[in-house]
Amino acid sequence: MDIDILQFLEQEGIASRLVEGVKEFRAQFPVREEEFRDRIPVPEYLYYGKDVWEKAIAALLAGENLLLTGPKATGKNVLAENLAYVFGRPAWNVSFHISTEASFLIGADTYDGDKVVFRPGPIYLTAQNGGFVVLDEINMARNEALAVLHSALDFRHIIDVPGYKKVRVHEAARFIATMNYGYAGTRDLNAALASRFVVLNMPVATEKDLKKLITGRFPAINDQICDQFMKLFYELEKKASHADISDRAVDLRGLLDALRLIEKGIASGAALDMCIVNKTFDPFEQQLVRDVVSARLPADLTAEDVFTA
């Protein structure tokens, strides 16, 4: 997506002081190396939500690390990626799982054909090069594995790799973590780690912001159909929050993918099946989700019906 992100922030009504702050940050920390310039993510979707934008930008300008919490489909990763782009920093992504361990984050021994050498991990690279690292689903990892982050995240700003060297965390480096509270297999972040972040609770997108997101990506979408897609999303979200279905079908990305498939000529029913309904693998749950879809959108909408504007 080719966008002038600063202009976008201004259009969103973000406080000018914050936008100025971002400009200064970018001027202070330009990215010169080609290999890192490639790492600055160009977002496919923009995050809409003035309040969240302002809080996130203010926190990062103040040198804080951000923990984005919230249920599925609240745009945690979109925001994290958008932030790296706004601040013009190379980004590293770490998807956490139960077996994530310190050596993966910081770096591990490896053999270069002649001797055992240190191969730096994403946290090390971020610290060294002033990147933004997105720690996705941070609460999937065990607390012991995360303990290595403590010194990088707090006032010490260092990473000490035993047997190698101590790295001072670059002034422009920021850590952005995401977590979905209450997922099966997740754990609570321990107090020590949580205290090293400022926590931003991500709300479910408002209708206005969701509309901007959809129309931003699909400017030709028929207004009435766009509304029905939005309502479908909220109805699924409500159903999941009442635990009648899992949150697999509450998939904003899936909804946008469905629109993309319709754009390519797939009928609405099939597109929604592929991108929403079939995301749940339990046949009964699929029926429940399909009922919600069928009460909102006919199965035979074509690209001509949907994109008429």
């Binding site: 361990e101 297999g185 009648d244 069928s294």
Partner: protein, 574 residues
């Protein structure tokens, strides 16, 4: 044409209603089903829309006000036509898809009409049925019907605009009944001293019969069995006693979680040997509503409700102690589980250098001289908490419910899937009641715990395995027990004897030992939390070996359960 509705069909129908209602905090007052037993999508959506747009209490009272009439069934049909039109107009701007759904419904109406017999046709009130044909014909896009002036007037009156609120809607419907059907005998349930719920059940039957005959579709109460099915139960009273007992169990504990075929397989496998004459029932323990056939069951249902209130009240009174217990146990479990779930190292091409193997790289060209945490360790542990719910526990029901709550809540907080079951034996049935499933985030249903009947521990433990199918690979089972199995249903005589044996004492303990042994062979770690009399300690030791802990007060639960779980997890790891 009617088929038995399974729980999942009801759940789907309820979801359709809730979705249209836009809220999930209400019981669906009616549910609609097609003749094949599947939910009627459009009618359920209309029912949901009634909840969304109208004051359902006022609407129910209106239904009740003419329920005594001999023509109630016909009037119902007419009233619903009016309501449907009004709701359609209200909702259509927000949900254009409704037009499509309505058209499909109209088409199915005429399709069903083709299959109606002459007798079924004659059962309709001709004026009302004519209106239905006009309505659905118009929706289908048929050419305008030829109508008599009277029919045309009624047709127009039934086009109730979406701008009406509940009061205006009811007003218009009332006028239609008065002007077009000369019906004036409206009664308010409260004034007549008749409970509205009884009248509602009458309406329900009317509406249901209407649909059964006219549209081959059923509208039934939101939970439990349909009235039609209940009627068929009444007609089968002369059937064998066993059938009656089954009905009793169903009425008391709700529909069985498994279908007939599955139950046959289970009973064939489990009700053998010492349990030859026994039967099994798996239920959520939700008693069926007022229409219960058994007086005894009705009393029991009232008792269960009372106990539920007592359990909840005890929880509220003891909330500080319970919260402390949960905190304490959660902290212990968290530490225990993080050790338990530690992945084992495996050889890798990168990771931590394993110095003892480093030579292999140079000499044997083996790059696997590093260690790396092994395969992803899933949260492969689930816990089942089995509560003895026999009458011997009657004096401590609130405490047991609270203890189970503390255990379940703590485990849930540590993200361990936990399931809570209660078991008891009544009328030869060993009933396993699912109080909380692995998926339920809410632990409050545990307070539905109610103690009554006997406890055939051996059979209950054997039958439990079925309920744990969705559990993780490694399973822990905690039994809250008094280690005193006994049941009124006797065991078959031993070889060479003609006398049936009591399920009590040594024989019952032996049977339970076997059941625990069999579970352990199937990779269950079984442990007991004992709250019974000292005289049964010997039984406890015999049944559960060293995996038990004795609790005298709820305050001891966190420490006791923590120690027991640590012991069990250690054993499981080894």
């Amino acid at each position: 044409m009617k088929t038995k509705r399974t729980g999942s069909m009801q759940r789907r129908a309820m979801n359709q209603v809730w979705n249209a209602a836009g809220r999930y905090d209400c019981e669906a007052p009616f549910l609609a089903f097609k003749p094949d037993g599947s939910p009627d999508f459009y009618l359920n959506t209309v029912i949901g829309l009634a909840i969304r747009w109208l004051d359902t209490e006022a609407l129910n009272a209106f239904f009740a006000s003419y329920a005594h009439s001999a023509r109630a069934r016909a009037l119902d049909m007419l009233v619903w036509l009016g309501i449907e039109q009004c709701l359609y107009e209200k909702e259509i701007p927000d949900r254009p898809m409704l037009a499509h759904m309505r058209r499909q419904y109209a088409e199915s109406f005429f399709k069903e009409e083709e299959t109606l017999s002459r007798q079924e046709m004659m059962a309709h009130n001709p004026r009302v049925y004519e209106q239905m044909r006009f309505r659905w014909g118009e929706v289908r896009g048929d050419r305008p019907f030829l109508m008599t002036p009277g029919a045309k007037r009624l047709f127009e009156k039934l086009q109730i605009p979406g701008s009406c609120d509940t009061k205006e809607l009811i007003g218009q419907l009332k006028n239609i009944l008065i002007d077009e059907f000369r019906f004036r005998d409206f009664r308010l349930g409260a004034h007549e001293g008749i409970p509205v719920s009884a009248q509602l059940s009458q309406i329900l039957r009317n509406v249901m019969r209407r649909d059964a005959r006219m549209q081959d579709s059923l509208i039934v109460r939101g939970s439990g069995t349909s009235a039609e099915q209940r009627a068929s139960f009444l007609s089968t009273r002369e059937l064998a006693r066993g059938k009656e007992d089954e009905e009793y169990i169903r009425t008391c504990f709700g529909e069985c979680l498994y279908d007939q075929a599955q139950m046959t397989v289970l009973e064939n496998a489990l009700c053998t040997g010492a349990h030859e004459s026994c039967r099994l029932w798996y239920a959520k323990g939700e008693t069926l509503p007022d229409e219960m056939k058994h007086k005894e069951a009705k009393l029991l249902a009232a008792d269960i409700r009372k106990q539920h209130e007592k359990n909840t009240a005890f929880y509220q009174r003891s909330s500080v102690m319970i919260a402390a217990g949960i905190r304490q146990l959660t902290a212990q479990l968290d530490a225990l589980l993080s050790t338990f779930l530690e992945p084992l190292p495996e050889r890798a091409r990168e990771g931590t250098l394993d110095a003892a193997r480093a030579y292999r790289m140079k000499l044997l060209d083996d790059p696997y001289v590093f260690t790396h945490p092994g395969d992803e360790v899933e949260n492969n542990l689930s816990v089942d908490i089995l509560l003895d719910a026999s009458s011997s526990r009657a004096s401590a029901q609130e405490i047991i419910a609270a203890q189970a709550y503390v255990l379940a809540r703590s485990l849930t907080r540590c993200h361990v899937p936990v399931q809570v079951e209660a078991f008891r034996s009544v009328k030869g049935f060993t009933v396993l009641q699912l109080l909380k499933s692995y998926e339920d985030a809410d632990c409050n249903r545990i307070f539905r715990y109610y103690a009554a009947g006997w406890n055939r521990d051996g059979l209950a433990l054997g039958a439990l395995e079925k309920l744990t199918e969705k559990g993780a690979e490694k399973k822990l089972l905690l039994v809250l027990t008094d280690a005193h199995p006994n049941d009124s249903q006797k065991m078959p005589p031993e070889e060479g004897s003609v006398f049936a044996r009591e399920y009590d004492g040594f024989a019952a303990v032996n049977d339970t030992i076997e059941a625990v042994g069999s579970l352990r062979e199937k990779q269950f770690m079984v442990g007991a939390i004992f709250t019974g009399k000292t005289s049964y300690l010997e039984n406890l030791h015999a049944i559960y070996g060293r995996y038990y802990v004795r609790i005298r007060k709820t305050e001891q639960l966190a420490v006791g359960a923590g120690t027991l779980l640590a012991q069990m997890l250690r054993e499981l790891k080894n």
